[in-house]
Amino acid sequence: MDTPVIRADALTKRYGPHPALTDATLDIPAGRIVGLVGPNGAGKSTLLALAAGLIRPTSGTIDVLGRRPAADTAQLARVGFVAQDTPVYAQLTVAEHLRLGERLNPAWDRPFAHARIKQIGLDPAKKAGRLSGGQKAQLALTLAAAKRPELLIFDEPVAALDPLARRAFLQNLMEFVAEIDVSVILSSHLISDVERVCDHLVILAESRVQVAGDIDDLTAAHFRVVGPRGTLDTLPAGTDVIATEHTDRQTTLIVHARNGTRPDTLGQTEPVGLEDMVLTYLHRAQGTGAPTLQESTR
């Protein structure tokens, strides 16, 4: 379990002149549930497709579970990938999906797959095309998990699901994680879902990794500092300013204390919640400040 699940070094993917992913350097420990967040077009799907071995980098390297992605059939068997919109074969029944999975995957866990399908309440004789969005997602999850991979990758697994189906999907996924020894990477727009299920975070924006780390470490190292204007100009070493906002009299900073020390000497300091932290990085990458109440107080 000591091999990192993903190690990327200056990983870059360009489509013609268009950068999809730029200089991504990551070291994600095994056993984590990783949330990949960022706006559309930030490079989330590109990073996941590179990890799954569906596309090759333009430059830089990526290792998944210590080896190049999709290097051979043994490596393919170690990674389960569920693409966006949880694809299933519309013309095949649920039972046929399970048979196909068994044919194609050497380590297929048949009792596990059948028990899951029964628990979810899927009719084995039903064609996948006639399942609801939530049921399709559950089927795709079961197929990916029953091959007993060491890493499961999901591209926006819950984006198209209604709240009930979304919760059911996440419950099922968390049960898998508790039951089998598996790392997970999933991309999502829903920060509340990420906070609920993930313990490691990668924020992507404008094709670059903005910040990455264990969520508890990140939230313990990000603070909002408020003080009279002009008093927050010098910061202790190891403190990065992620955002600055001024009113006539007051300055508000969002800072990342990389050594984890709370910059209490500066001014009124309070922790920043996960959602605000993510939004601050996304705004910074876009080159825009967060919308504030400043306008009305001027």
Binding site: Q171, E175, V177, A178, S192, R196, T219, P271
Partner: protein
């Protein structure tokens, strides 16, 4: 058995929310010494939460001396936080009810009552 829930917008880390819920249940006598906490798998299946978060919460409760794991059987409550005996709670609650009614009659809204309580308890 205790039933966990998660409040995503509270700003409190998910594992701390679980810790607080166990502490609260112990204070109110809803959990007693010898009671079993739900297994990790039961919690994750119920509230769709990362299993590591549950483990972290249980480790924290263990560190506080409130629970202990029994290998192969689960995690059990080993101490209580109920202050005094629980019979006193009912009486205090009745008095508090009366006091809150008086405060409302005096024109205080709920925020003012909560603030008054919080500042007074800090000074007492």
């Amino acid at each position: 058995m205790i039933d966990f829930h998660l409040e995503p917008r509270s700003g409190v880390a998910p594992y701390m929310q679980l810790v607080h819920q166990v502490q609260q249940a112990l204070r109110l006598g809803m959990l007693a010494v010898g009671d079993q906490l739900p297994t990790v798998k039961q919690v994750v299946a119920k509230i769709a939460i990362n299993p590591n978060t549950v483990l972290k919460a249980y480790r924290e409760l263990e560190r506080q001396g409130l629970v202990a794991p029994k290998p192969g059987r689960g995690t059990f409550v080993t101490a209580t936080l109920a202050a005094g005996d629980l019979d006193a709670h009912a009486e205090l609650k009745t008095e508090l009810h009366r006091w809150i009614t008086r405060a409302r009659t005096a024109g205080l809204d709920d925020d003012a009552i909560t603030a008054l309580f919080a500042t007074t308890i800090r000074k007492t």
